[in-house]
Amino acid sequence: MILLTLSLKSMKNRALSSTLTIFSIAISVALFLGVNRIRLGAKESFARTIAGTDLIVGARTSPIQLLLNSVFHIGTPDNGVSQASYERIKNLPEVAWSVPLALGDSHRGFRVVGSTAAIFDHLQYGANHALAFEQGMGFQGPFDAVIGAQVAKQLGYHLDQEMILSHGTEHAMHHHADHAFKVIGILKKTSTPIDHSVIVCLEGIRAIHEGWHNGLPPAPGHEHEHEEEHDEHEHHDGHDEHEHHDEHEHEHHANEEHDAHDHDHHDSLSAILLGLKAKNLTLAVQTKIHGFEGEPLSAILPGLTFYELWSVIESLELSLFVIGMIVILAGILGMLAAIMTTLNERRREIAILRSVGANPWQVSTTLVLEAFILATLGSLLGLILATVSIFSIQFFASADVGFYYPHLMPTLFEVGILGLVLLISIVLGLVPAWKTYRNSLADGLSIRT
C-alpha cells in the first residue's frame, strides 16, 4: 500500500512528465482502437447495407460490380435487364418477391432509384429492418418521390416539396421541368445508401427519359435531325413516346442490339433484388437465371459477394492493425524513456527508503507500479478518447459516410489489446526496476547526489 502511495505521489511530483506520458499512451491507444473500430464499423456498415435478399440479378458482369452498383450505388451498370427478363424472373415459381431497381439518374447529387412499391415491403438492412417512414407514405402516382433521411436533411425537403429529377448522375444539368416530382414520403434513417436516395416508381423514371437517346436530350432542332438520321430510329417525339417507340420496335425487330441499347434508358432495369420462398432454392434459381436464353444475366448471393469484396480490403486491414500496434509500442517506449531519465534523481529517494527498512524488491516495485499506473491511465483515457470520437463521427458525420459502429463498451478483442498494452508496460517497467534494484544494492545507504 505504501508502495502504491509512493508511486502515485512520485508521479504527481512529476506531473507534467506523467501527464505527457499518459497522453502519449492515450493517443496511441485511441488511434489503435479508433482505426480498429472504423475498420469494424466499415465492415459492419457494409454488411448491414442489405439483408433478407437472397439473390441480386443484373446484366452479366462481375459479382462485385453488380453488388457495388445495386446495393452501394457506386457506379452505373453498363447494361440493364430487359422488362421481358424481369417478368420472367418475377414469375419463377421459387421467387417470393422481387424488387426492381432502375438506377442512373440523380437529383442534386443524390441517386434516384426507380422501383416499385415492393421496395418498401421487402428491402431490408441491418438485422432485417424494413424501410420505415418518418413522414408520409410510399408513392401513389408516377410523379411521387420518397426521399431518404439524408436527402431530406441536407436539402431541407419536406412533404409536398416539388423536385426536378435529372438524367444522368454527373453534372446533371438537363432538368426536365415538365416533370416536377413531389415528395410524398420521407424515410427514417438507416445509415445505408438508402438515406442518400430518392425513390420513385418505374413510371416516373420512364417519364424522365422521354425524348432522350443515348444519354442526349432532345436537340432543339430535332425535327431536322429526325429527317437526317431517320435510319437510326431513335428519335422520339416527347409527347407520344410509347406509341412511337413501339412502332419502331415492330419495324426493326431484327435490330435487337439496337433496341436493347435503347432500353437502357427507357424501361430496362439496373438490377433486381429477389427473395425466394426458401433459402435452399438459392443455388437452383441462380443456375436457372445464369442459363437464361437471349439475355446474359448474373445472379449473385449478396452475402458471399460481400465477403469477396471485403477480402480485397483485408490486407489493408492487417497493415492498419500492425501500424496500430507499432504506434502503441512507441507510446510505451516513450513512457519507458521518461521513467529512465528519472532514475538518477531517484537514487536519493531509494537510499531513504532503504534506510527505513524497504528492501530492494520493494524499491524496484515502485517503478513497475509507476509504469503500470501510467499505462493504465493512458489506456483508459485512450479508450474514452476512441469511444467519444467514434460516437462523434456517428452523430455528426455518420450520415454522410453511412458509418455504423454500434458498441459502446469495449469488445473482448479490445479488452485483450488493452491487457496486452498493460502487460507490455509491466514487462518494460522491469527494465528501470532492475536498474533500480542494482543501484539500491550498490548504493546501500550512501546518498548519491
Partner: protein, 227 residues
C-alpha cells in the same frame, strides 16, 4: 543483551586485499550514546552500513540485539533495520514531494513492530509524529508542508523525528549536523539526546567534528580500528 556486538570483524571491499578496518571487540549497550570520529575515507559510513545490515563483514560476526547479521537473509536484515533502527543521513533525508508528516510516518511504513509500539491507529501514530516534531523544535503547523520547502536545519529535525518514531533500540546518525551552524548543532544534539534517553535508544553518532564529542557516554575513533 547488547544492542550491537562485534567480534573479530574485518571488512574489505571486494576488489581490495587490504581490509578497510578490523574490530576485535565492540559493544553498544541499550541507551548508550557513542561518538565515532574519523576523517574522510576512514570508513565511518561503511561502519554504519555494517551495523545497519546493508553490508556484511568479510570476516567475524556482527550481532544486533543478539542476531548475527551474517546469518540472516537480505530480507531479514532489511526487517531488522526496519523494526529496530532509525537512520539519519548527513543531508537529503527527506522525500521532497512528501509532506513533513508523511516523511516522519515513512519510518513506520515498513515495520509492523514500530507501528505496534505506537498502536495501529493512524491518529495515535500521527499524534506521536507530531509530538516528536514539536519536541525537536519544529512548529506543528509545518506538518503538512512539502519537505522540499524546509530549510536544511528543519529537514534534519524531521529526519531525526522519523528515525526516533516507533522507539527503535538503535539510532544511527551519519554526520547529521555537518550542514548546521554551531548553535543549531548544539540544540539539535540536545533534543536528540532527550528523546533517546526517554525511550532508552542507543545512539551511534558518526562525525569528523570533535566539538560535541564530550557530551557522549563513549568516544572511539575509526583510526583505532586500523591496524
Amino acid at each position: 543483551m547488547n544492542v550491537v556486538e562485534m567480534n573479530d570483524v574485518e571488512f574489505s571491499w571486494e576488489n581490495s586485499t587490504q581490509p578497510l578496518f578490523r574490530v576485535s571487540q565492540f559493544q553498544v549497550t541499550p541507551g548508550q550514546r557513542l561518538f565515532v570520529s574519523g576523517g574522510s575515507g576512514a570508513g565511518k559510513s561503511t561502519f554504519l552500513s555494517l551495523i545497519a545490515g546493508i553490508l556484511i563483514p568479510t570476516r567475524g560476526s556482527i550481532s544486533i540485539l543478539g542476531k548475527a547479521t551474517n546469518k540472516l537473509t537480505f530480507a531479514e536484515r532489511d526487517h531488522l533495520r526496519a523494526h529496530h533502527m532509525g537512520y539519519i543521513f548527513q543531508m537529503f533525508n527527506l522525500i521532497p514531494y512528501l509532506s513533513v508528516l508523511e516523511n516522519v510516518l515513512l519510518g513506520l511504513r515498513f515495520s509492523s513492530i514500530k507501528q505496534a509500539r505506537l498502536g495501529h491507529n493512524n491518529l495515535e501514530q500521527e499524534a506521536e509524529a507530531k509530538r516528536l516534531l514539536n519536541a525537536l523544535g519544529l512548529n506543528s503547523n509545518l506538518a503538512n508542508v512539502a519537505a522540499r520547502n524546509l530549510s536544511v536545519g528543519q529537514q534534519q529535525r524531521v529526519a531525526a523525528a522519523r528515525a526516533l518514531l516507533g522507539d527503535p533500540e538503535l539510532l544511527l546518525a551519519d554526520e547529521p549536523t555537518s550542514a548546521l551552524d554551531a548553535v543549531n548543532c548544539a540544540q539539535f544534539l540536545e533534543l536528540l539526546f532527550t528523546e533517546c534517553q526517554r525511550a532508552n535508544i542507543a545512539l551511534i553518532y558518526v562525525s569528523h567534528d570533535q566539538t560535541s564529542a564530550a557530551n557522549f557516554d563513549r568516544q572511539i575513533t575509526m583510526e583505532s580500528f586500523h591496524s
